[in-house]
């Protein structure tokens, strides 16, 4: 995929959810651009639509209207097979609940996406490097259940980085962590952005975390304010 100035361009994005009989307009026409090297912090109250926006950008959901361009390529109507390929190679996703596979060790969780592309040996080597980068070189063979919340989130970060993605999405990555672990995870993001020039989009409603990015947008009632 050729590099464009913007990793992502969004035009008039709309998304409505049905909550029983009630329809909730989560996004009401959001437009934005995310450039390479950005660390965009998306903030807003609960239910404002910030996670919904992240899900559309991360190709985990389909918008009702609007367009998303990923490195210049329109992706909203792309077949699922190609969207899966994009998620594998170009997107790293970090969930609030860590979303690790419980039967896999830390090392296996990280190397799994790389095994889709390259040989197992090289996937293992790269996973070891990434886990060392987040200070988990001594926890390679630990199952998620044997790791603390902060450690699990670091494994998720290493997994998101394994295929050297164009962009990393983090959906309230510190929401389930204590303050020390949260600070630790945020510092990993900052380091990734500043030292390795990774493009990061992070959703948070922690006011003190908005300062870690170079751009902040606030979503309210499905619109950027």
């Amino acid at each position: 995929m050729s590099k464009n100035r913007d990793v992502i361009q969004v035009k008039s994005l709309e998304k409505t959810y049905a909550l029983g009989e009630i329809k909730v307009k989560a996004l009401r026409g959001v437009s934005l651009s995310i450039a390479y090297g950005d660390f965009l912090v998306v903030t807003g109250r609960n239910g404002s639509g910030k996670s919904t926006l992240l899900h559309q950008l991360g190709l985990l959901d389909h918008p009702d209207a609007g367009e998303i361009f990923f490195a210049g390529q329109e992706v909203t109507l792309m077949p699922e097979r190609r969207r899966t390929e994009l998620r594998l190679r170009n997107i790293g996703y970090i969930f609030q609940e860590f979303a690790l596979i419980p039967e896999l060790t830390a090392l296996e969780n990280v190397m799994l996406p790389a095994m889709m592309i390259g040989a197992r040996g090289s996937a293992r080597k790269r996973a070891q490097e990434l886990l060392a980068r987040v200070d988990l070189e001594n926890n390679l063979d630990h199952l998620p259940s044997q790791l603390s919340g902060g450690e699990q989130q670091k494994v998720a970060i290493a997994r998101a980085l394994i295929n050297d993605p164009m962009i990393i999405f983090a959906d309230e990555p510190t929401a389930n962590l204590d303050s020390i672990a949260a600070t630790d995870v945020i510092s990993v993001f900052q380091s990734l952005n500043r030292e390795a020039d990774h493009t990061i989009v992070m959703v948070t409603h922690e006011p003190e975390e908005t300062a870690c990015g170079n751009r902040v947008i606030t979503i309210a009632d499905g619109l950027i304010r």
């Binding site: 985990l60 039967e103 889709m116 390259g118």
Partner: protein, 399 residues
């Protein structure tokens, strides 16, 4: 592309390693029970069918029964015909039987059980009546005034005929009434083959028949032929015809009489139970694997979110189902062969048509095993297709 094919094996290995051992054991146990249910009922019915077929062959008809050509009452030159039949390659033994036109009388009771004249030694090579004596002894050449009778004739407990010689003992006198004239015989023995139609008969020697009805000397109502391999009757019939033996050739199946109806009924019931068994197995396997995969919805959502292709996820769960069912079939087969078959060999079902053990039909066991494996594949594939088509976010959220 080549690398991604390893993903299902990688995930399967980790899932099996990380699975709860008790849950895994329970799943395998349930699948084993589903397989045993499929093979046990079939083996039992096949055992019943096999036992009844074997009883007919062993106690009454042999493999082939040669009866007189149409319009004739007896086969002439019975001994020569027996000798000629025994010269055929596939024939183990042959024996002539002559039905005596006589009725039986014991004390004041008259009864019409078949009286059959035999050469005891020759007969013992085609039927196993000689080994089924429960009182007294079998006939021997030269017994001109001795008779043996089946247990049904004695009216013993469980016997089904109304007019019987209840209370008769070995050594008691029985009269054979031929053309209204009684001829006294001594009861030499009582046999019990556990096959009602066989235990309904009585036997005297051919020497005795010669004394009663000299005109029937060397004449036979039928000639019983035992062959080397059951199932090749038609081939042997061709060989017998080639040797110039004339008569009407019947296989044991055609002569099985009312038992044929019983066996046909068993075959029908077995087919029905097999169908029901497969449905039960299908539902059981589907539920077990569906529940297992449903519990992994969140995991499947995560795998999809990080870019693992849907077909690889489906393949993983199909492999997992396959491993479960292979283990289930293996455990089921082990229990069947190590426990059930030996148990019923030692403690057979005693039915009126004989002792029934579990029949082992390898083709059936393999076929049903493959059936279970196919059910396992379908049970893994269908829910995994459903789950991999759902919304990723719904799966991750467990909705």
């Amino acid at each position: 592309m080549k690398n991604e094919f390893k993903i299902p094996f990688f995930l399967l290995g980790r899932f099996m390693r990380g699975s709860n051992k008790w849950t895994l054991s329970l799943v395998i146990f349930l699948l084993a029970i589903a397989y045993i249910n499929l093979i046990f009922v079939n083996s039992l019915f096949q055992g019943v069918i096999s036992a009844s077929n074997q009883q007919v062959i062993n106690t009454s008809t042999g493999n082939i029964v040669i009866t007189p050509v149409e319009g004739q009452e007896f086969i002439s030159n019975a001994e020569a015909t027996v000798s000629r039949a025994e010269q055929a390659d596939e024939v183990n033994a042959a024996a002539a039987e002559t039905e005596v036109p006589a009725s039986l009388r014991y004390q004041v009771i008259d009864a019409n059980f078949p009286v059959i004249a035999i050469d005891p030694e020759q007969e013992s090579r085609v039927t196993n009546i000689s080994q089924k004596m429960i009182q007294g002894s079998y006939l021997k050449a030269g017994d001109t005034d001795q008779i043996i009778i089946g247990r049904q004739v004695t009216g013993a407990q469980g016997a089904q005929n109304l007019s019987t010689f209840e209370g008769i003992q070995v050594g008691d006198k029985i009269s054979l009434v031929v053309s209204g004239i009684p001829h006294e015989f001594t009861l030499k023995g009582i046999f019990y083959s556990k096959f009602l139609e066989a235990d309904n008969r009585t036997f005297v020697t051919r020497q005795a028949l010669d004394g009663l009805l000299p005109d029937l000397h060397d004449k036979a109502s039928n000639i019983i032929v035992r062959i080397a391999k059951t199932g090749t009757e038609q081939t042997v019939i061709g060989q017998l015809r080639d040797r110039g033996i004339t008569g009407t050739f019947n296989t044991w199946e055609a002569m099985a009489g009312q038992l044929t109806t019983v066996v046909d009924s068993f075959i029908t019931i077995n087919a029905l139970l097999t169908t029901v068994g497969f449905l039960i197995a299908a539902v059981t396997i589907f539920i077990i694997i569906y529940v297992d995969i449903s519990h992994r919805r969140q995991e499947i959502g995560i795998l999809r979110a990080i870019g693992i292709k849907g077909y690889l996820i489906r393949t993983t769960y199909v492999f997992q189902s396959l491993v479960y069912t292979v283990l289930g079939v293996a455990v089921g087969a082990a229990v069947f062969f190590a426990v059930l078959v030996p148990y019923f060999w030692v403690h057979p079902f005693v039915l009126p048509l004989g002792d029934v053990t579990l029949a082992i039909l390898v083709d059936d066991l393999i076929g049903r095993g493959f059936g279970v494996l196919l059910l396992g594949i379908a049970s893994g594939l269908i829910p995994s297709i459903i789950v991999t088509r759902a919304k990723i976010l719904d799966e991750i959220a467990g909705r």
